[in-house]
């Protein structure tokens, strides 16, 4: 349950940011675009432990961001489930940005032009044309991000440790159970849950990508 909460919070918080980044990368040409692209993808290629360590430095009690958050808002992320959500969010971000970006690039910009000539301003055009047309990509991004968050291990344990009931997500619990003599039954049970969740997420994402649910016709929204 904690895992679900952490992953849920992670993708809900990440979605607007992921969409904004995907939009920038898909639609805008600006100096430093390559750098932004690289930074977004960094958590995908860097060892998760390193990502966790970087988060620790930035958001820790004495980190530049962590201290500001604590002083101004009284928020601490260290050793809290919110920290686990942050770690999961950072790890899920690249996958989500990729999925949304692909679907944005697939949106026919001539349709947006047509909407403009019919009297739609840029925002209305976005809400009525662009966004509905890339919904399958957004849905796929949510499912992928969710699955990635569920499996998040390295960055989480490095950043917020493994505290039962607070930061001990499913993979961390499995690992902890493995360390204990006689924990096999527990491991089997948790592993079964995680396989079921991940399988469900994959099937759901394929199904959404296929599109009939969202009225999108042919399945050209494969994410992987």
């Amino acid at each position: 349950m904690l895992s679900l909460k952490v992953s849920g919070a992670a993708i809900v918080l990440t979605m607007p940011l992921a969409f904004a980044l995907a939009w920038l990368l898909a639609r805008r040409r600006f100096p430093g675009r390559l750098l932004v692209d690289a930074l977004v993808h960094l958590p995908l290629v860097v060892p998760p432990v390193v990502t966790g360590w970087l988060l620790l430095i930035l958001f820790g009690a004495n980190g530049p961001v962590g201290r500001t958050l604590e002083q101004w808002f009284g928020v601490t992320l260290m050793f809290r489930w919110t920290g686990a959500a942050l770690a999961a969010a950072v790890m899920a971000l690249p996958l989500m940005v990729r999925a949304i970006r692909l679907s944005l690039e697939a949106v026919d910009r001539r349709l947006e032009g047509a909407a403009r000539t019919l009297g739609a301003g840029p925002w209305r055009c976005f809400w009525t044309i662009t966004l509905p047309l890339c919904l399958p990509g957004i849905a796929a991004a949510a499912v992928l991000g969710f699955a990635r968050s569920l499996g998040e291990f390295g960055a989480t344990i490095t950043f917020v440790s493994s505290i039962p009931g607070e930061t001990q997500t499913l993979p961390l619990a499995i690992y902890a159970a493995l360390q204990q003599p006689g924990g096999e039954a527990m491991v089997t049970r948790l592993a079964a849950i995680s396989v079921a969740l991940s399988l469900g997420a994959l099937v759901l994402s394929e199904w959404l990508g296929r599109g009939p649910v969202l009225g999108m016709g042919k399945g050209d929204a494969h994410v992987l």
Binding site: L111, G113, A114, R116, T117, L118, P122
Partner: protein, 207 residues
């Protein structure tokens, strides 16, 4: 004068330049593929920004580089019928037709929905998805969508090019009726001499 156009625009290696004035009725922009005819329509509709020049339609200045006027497409009140119809795939035919109608200020809606549907004979298509339409049907819906947005003029970009001969006749008859009954100024792009001769009051040649 209905259309007063004097624009230049660099498109990659070549420059599209056109200067023309046209009166009432249907004016054809005629020339071979690649002459920049579509670019001219895009400039008049506001989808493409000319590098320099001036566009006046029916007395209203749409673009003037010297006076720094550049109305966005949604404020130009143009009905643009594209070569590839560009119907919104995620909306039904009816929703497509109403898209521009809903956005137009009530005072500008000179054609009502039922009249447009009758005029174009598309009543039986309303619930369908644009994907399921034939080329001729889709083009009639696209024309209806443009007319219902309450335009003050029409831009038509080779609206017949994707159709077979019987459909071409059918759509050409529709265009003639728009020209004669609705009395809308039309800027019409084509590379087909026979089509232009049949429809156009004036012909502007582009090379």
């Amino acid at each position: 004068m209905s259309f007063d156009i004097d624009v230049t625009c660099r498109r990659g290696a070549r420059t599209v330049a056109l200067r023309c004035s046209a009166g009432e009725g249907l004016t054809a922009l005629f020339g071979p593929s690649g002459a920049g005819k579509t670019s001219v329509l895009d400039m008049v509709s506001g989808l493409l920004r000319p590098d320099a020049g001036r566009i006046v339609v029916g007395g209203q200045v749409l673009f003037d580089s010297a006076a720094r006027i550049n109305l966005p497409p949604e404020r130009r009140a143009c009905g643009y019928v594209f070569q590839d119809n560009r119907l919104f795939p995620h909306r039904s035919v009816q929703a497509n037709l109403l898209y521009g109608w809903n956005l137009a200020p009530p005072a500008r809606r000179w054609l009502d929905f039922d009249a447009a549907v009758d005029f174009l004979g598309i009543g039986h298509l309303l619930a369908r998805s644009p994907r399921s339409l034939s080329g001729g049907e889709a083009q009639r819906v696209a024309i209806g969508r443009a007319l219902l947005s309450g335009p003050k003029f029409l831009l038509m970009d080779e609206p017949l090019s994707s159709l077979d001969a019987p459909r071409r006749d059918e759509i050409m008859a529709v265009i003639e009726r728009i020209r004669d009954e609705l009395r809308l100024p039309i800027l019409y792009v084509s590379h087909d001499r026979a089509e232009v001769d049949r429809l156009a009051g004036q012909i502007v040649e582009m090379v």
